[in-house]
Amino acid sequence: MPAADRHAKIADVASAAEGAQAEGGILAFTREQELSAYRAMLLIRRFEEKAGQMYGMGLIGGFCHLYIGQEAVVVGARMSAKSTDQFITGYRDHGHMLACGMEPRRVMAELTGRRGGYSKGKGGSMHMFSREKNFYGGHGIVGAPAPLGVGLAFADLYRGDGSVSLTFFGDGAANQGQVYESFNMAELWKLPIVFIVENNRYAMGTSVERSSAQANFSMRGTAFNIPGRQIDGMDVRAVAAAAREALDWCRAGKGPFLIEAQTYRYRGHSMSDPAKYRSKEEVQRVREEHDPIEQVRARLLAGGIGEDELKQIDAAVRRIVSEAADFATNDPEPDPSELWTDVVL
C-alpha cells in the first residue's frame, strides 16, 4: 500500500516530545513539537466530525463514539511514548488509532463496514486493531481494556524488551471490579503499564459525582501503592509530561503508574444520546475556554507563526479526511465468504 505512509505520517506522533524540557508540570514544546501536536489533534477532530456526518447519512451504522474534545489525551501520551509501546483502549477509539499512525482511510472504511477497513469491515467503529502499530483495540466491554493491558505489560516484562503498555479507560470504566484486580497484579508483579483514566466527567448520562465514591481517580491506585498524577488533559503538554514521567518509571522497572487526565467530551456519548444530563452552557464553556486544539493554535500564533501556515495545515488535514471519506464510501463491502473466515486459525 504505497500511499499508506504518506497518510500515516501526518498523525503518528510517537516520540515527538523527545527532548522537550519538563517545567512546572508540562513539557516546553518547541515550535515543531507544537505543530506535531496541532496536526495530530486536528486530524482527529476533523475525522470525527466527518464520521458524525457520515453516521447521520446512514453510511456508518451501529454505535459510533466520537473523541471530540479529548484529543490532547492520546496525542500527548503518544508523543512521549515509543512506537514499540502498546496502546489499548475501549470503544471511543478512533483518536487512538489515528494517533498511533493507523491510516485514516482504513479506519474510516472500517466505520462504513468495507473490505478495506482494518478489520475487513467485520469489527466496526468499536473494534479495530493493528499489530503493526502495536494497537490492540478497540474493545466494547467497559472495563475490559484494564486487564488486557496488564497482559500486554506482562508480555513486555516476560520478554524484557523495555516496552510499556499504555492502557486507556474511562471514568465510568474505573468503577469496574476488574480494574482493581488489574491494579493489584500490575503492582504485585511490577509490570510496565501506564493506566490512563480519561476522565471526561460522564459515563453515558452518569456524572462522576453520581457514580464514584472516590472521584479523584489518580488516587484509585493508592491502596495498591501505585503512584498517580491528576493532570489537565486538555493541555497536550501536561499529558506529555505525565506520560514521560510514567514511562520513565515503568522502564526503570518500578511497576505501574496511574494518570488521570481530566478532559471533556463535546458530543453525546454515542450518536443517539440526547445529552440532557448537562447544560449547553457547560459544554460551551469548555469549548471556549479549554479547547485542546485552540490552546495550541493560540500558542503557535503568539509564537509568531503565520495564519497562512496554519491554514495550510488545516487544508491538508481536510484533504486527508475527505479522501478517507471517499475511500470509505466507495470501497466495496467485504466478500460474503468473509462471513466464515477468521473464526479460528
Binding site: G123, A173, N175, T206, E333, L339, W340
Partner: protein, 480 residues
C-alpha cells in the same frame, strides 16, 4: 455550492422520526455546530447541528412533520450570498449519499419478504434507505390471541417498551419490596427508555442508578433478594450481564438448593438480548441457550408487547430468579394489548401463534416474527405452518411442542443464537425422544450462523436467520 441537510439517523435502529421544530428560519446564517432543528425519535429528542457554514436557504420539511424517513433532505444550506431559486430545487439525492453501486443496500436484517406484516418489515430496515417521501407509520399488529385474555377485554395498541414499563410500574405500586436497579435506569430514563417515568413516580429509593459495575450490582441485587426484597435488575444489554453471570448462576440460581430450601431469590434480571443492528460481535449475542441450561433459573423471552407485559408481571411475582430476555428491535413495535387490572401470563406455557397442519415452526422472541412471516408466505404455496411461540425457555413447554408435532409430523426450530447446544438442539432432542414415531422428517434448525456477529451490513444480514431460511427449512422437512 448548496448542501442538503438530510434527516439524520440518530441511533442504530432509527428508521424515521418526527421533525419536531426548526430553531432557525430560512435566511438565517448558520455555522458548523449550530443547532438548527430538533428531532424526536421513539427514544429521545435530539438536536440537529449544521455541519457547514452558510445560510439556511430553504426548509424542505416543515416543523411538526411526523415519520420523516432517515436521509430525506430536510433543508438546504447555501453559501452566503448564493441565490437558490425555486427552479434550482435541491437534488433529491445528495452528492455524498450512497449511490446504487458504490454503497451497499442499507442493512436489512433480517430479510423479510414484502408480504410480511408492516411492523416486522419496519423492524428490518436499518437504517432506512434514502427516501424522498415520509414513511408510513407502522400499524399495530392484531391482538395476540391467548387464553389468558377474556373475550370482551379492551385492547389498546402499545409498544413493547411501554408494556414493559407498565408491568414494572404496576408491580411496584402493588408491592413495596419491588425496586429497579441498573445503569442509567433512573435519571436517564433507561438507556433504551424502558424505565421511562419510573424515577418520577417512585423516587430514587426504588429506582436506583448504579455505577458501571455489573458484577457488583447484580450480586448486590441477589443479596437484597435473599433478604426478601424483589429486585428488578436491569442490564443495559445482556452482553454486559456476562460480567455478572457468576452471580446469576452461582448465587441466584443455586442458593435455594444449597440452602436446603431456606433461601429463595425472587429477582428478575432483564434487558435487551441478541442482535440489535450493526453493533458488532461484542454487543449482539443471544444468551437464550446459555441461561436456559441452568437449573434454578426461569428464562422468559416474549415476542410481543402483550406477552411481555403479562410475563414480566408474573416474573416479578415469581419467588425464583427469572432471566427476562427482551429484544431491542421489538421495543418500538406496537401490538394490541389488553387493558386488564391483573394481567398475568403464566411462566412455562407456550402459545400457538398461528394454527396449522403441515409443519411446526417453534421459536421465541423475534424469531416468532420471522416464523409468522414465513408461515404467511408458505400459506400462499398451500403449506399451513403452525407457529409455536415458546414464550418461556425454562421450564420449556415441551408438551405444547410435542402436541403440535404429533399433528404435523414435521418440525423446524428457529433462533438467533448459535447452533451448537442451542435451543433448537434441545427441541430436536426432545422431539425425537417424545415424538419419534410421529416424525416424517428430521427436525431442522434455523439459527444464527456459527460465527461472531460481523459489523458489515451485508455480512450481518448473512449471519442472522432470515425469513427465507425459515421458508427453505420448512420446505425441506416437507420434501418440497
Amino acid at each position: 455550492m448548496t448542501v442538503n441537510v438530510l434527516m439524520p439517523a440518530l441511533s442504530p435502529t432509527m428508521e424515521q422520526g418526527k421533525l419536531a421544530k426548526w430553531l432557525k428560519n430560512e435566511g438565517d446564517k448558520v455555522k458548523a455546530g449550530d443547532v438548527i432543528a430538533e428531532i424526536e425519535t421513539d427514544k429521545a429528542t435530539m438536536e440537529v447541528e449544521a455541519v457547514d457554514e452558510g445560510v439556511l436557504a430553504r426548509i424542505l420539511v416543515p416543523g411538526g412533520a411526523e415519520n420523516v424517513a432517515v436521509n430525506t433532505p430536510i433543508a438546504v444550506i447555501a453559501e452566503e450570498g448564493e441565490e437558490i431559486g425555486p427552479a434550482e430545487a435541491p437534488p433529491s439525492t445528495p452528492a455524498a449519499a450512497p449511490t446504487e453501486n458504490a454503497a451497499p443496500a442499507p442493512a436489512k436484517a433480517p430479510d423479510i419478504p414484502a408480504s410480511a406484516p408492516q411492523e416486522a418489515a419496519a423492524a428490518a430496515a436499518v437504517p432506512a434507505a434514502p427516501a424522498a417521501t415520509a414513511a408510513e407509520p407502522a400499524a399495530p399488529s392484531p391482538a395476540v390471541a391467548v387464553p389468558e385474555i377474556p373475550a370482551d377485554t379492551t385492547l389498546l395498541p402499545m409498544t413493547m417498551r411501554e408494556a414493559l414499563r407498565d408491568a414494572m410500574a404496576e408491580e411496584m405500586r402493588r408491592d413495596q419490596n419491588v425496586f429497579v436497579i441498573g445503569e442509567e435506569v433512573a435519571e436517564y430514563q433507561g438507556a433504551y427508555k424502558v424505565t421511562q417515568g419510573l424515577l418520577q413516580e417512585f423516587g430514587p429509593r426504588r429506582v436506583v442508578d448504579t455505577p458501571i459495575t455489573e458484577y457488583g450490582f447484580a450480586g448486590l441485587a441477589v443479596g437484597a433478594a435473599f433478604a426478601g426484597l424483589r429486585p428488578i435488575c436491569e442490564f443495559m444489554t445482556f452482553n454486559f450481564a456476562m460480567q455478572a453471570i457468576d452471580h446469576i448462576v452461582n448465587s441466584a440460581a443455586k442458593t435455594l438448593y444449597m440452602s436446603g430450601g431456606q433461601i429463595n431469590c425472587p429477582i428478575v434480571f432483564r434487558g435487551p438480548n441478541g442482535a440489535a443492528a450493526r453493533v458488532a460481535a461484542q454487543h449482539s449475542q443471544d444468551y437464550a441457550a446459555w441461561f436456559s441450561q441452568v437449573p434454578g433459573l426461569k428464562v422468559v423471552a416474549p415476542s410481543n408487547a402483550s406477552d411481555a407485559k403479562g410475563l414480566l408481571k408474573s416474573a416479578i411475582r415469581d419467588p425464583n430468579p427469572v432471566v427476562f430476555l427482551e429484544n431491542e428491535i421489538l421495543y418500538g413495535k406496537q401490538w394490541d394489548t389488553p387493558m386488564l387490572e391483573d394481567f398475568l401470563i403464566p411462566i412455562g406455557k407456550a402459545r400457538i401463534a398461528r394454527p396449522g397442519t403441515d409443519v411446526t415452526l417453534v421459536s421465541f422472541s423475534i424469531g416468532v416474527i420471522h416464523c409468522l412471516s414465513a408461515a404467511e408466505a408458505l400459506a400462499k404455496e398451500g403449506i399451513e405452518a403452525e407457529v409455536v411461540d415458546l414464550r418461556t425457555l425454562r421450564p420449556m413447554d415441551v408438551p405444547a411442542i410435542i402436541e403440535s408435532v404429533r399433528k404435523t409430523g414435521r418440525c423446524v426450530a428457529v433462533e438467533e443464537g448459535w447452533p451448537q447446544c442451542g435451543i433448537g438442539a434441545e427441541i430436536a432432542a426432545r422431539v425425537q425422544e417424545e415424538a419419534f414415531d410421529y416424525l416424517d422428517a428430521p427436525v431442522l434448525r434455523v439459527t444464527g450462523k456459527d460465527v461472531p456477529m460481523p459489523y458489515a451490513a451485508n455480512l450481518e444480514k448473512l449471519a442472522l436467520p432470515s425469513v427465507a431460511d425459515v421458508i427453505a427449512a420448512a420446505k425441506a422437512v416437507l420434501y418440497r
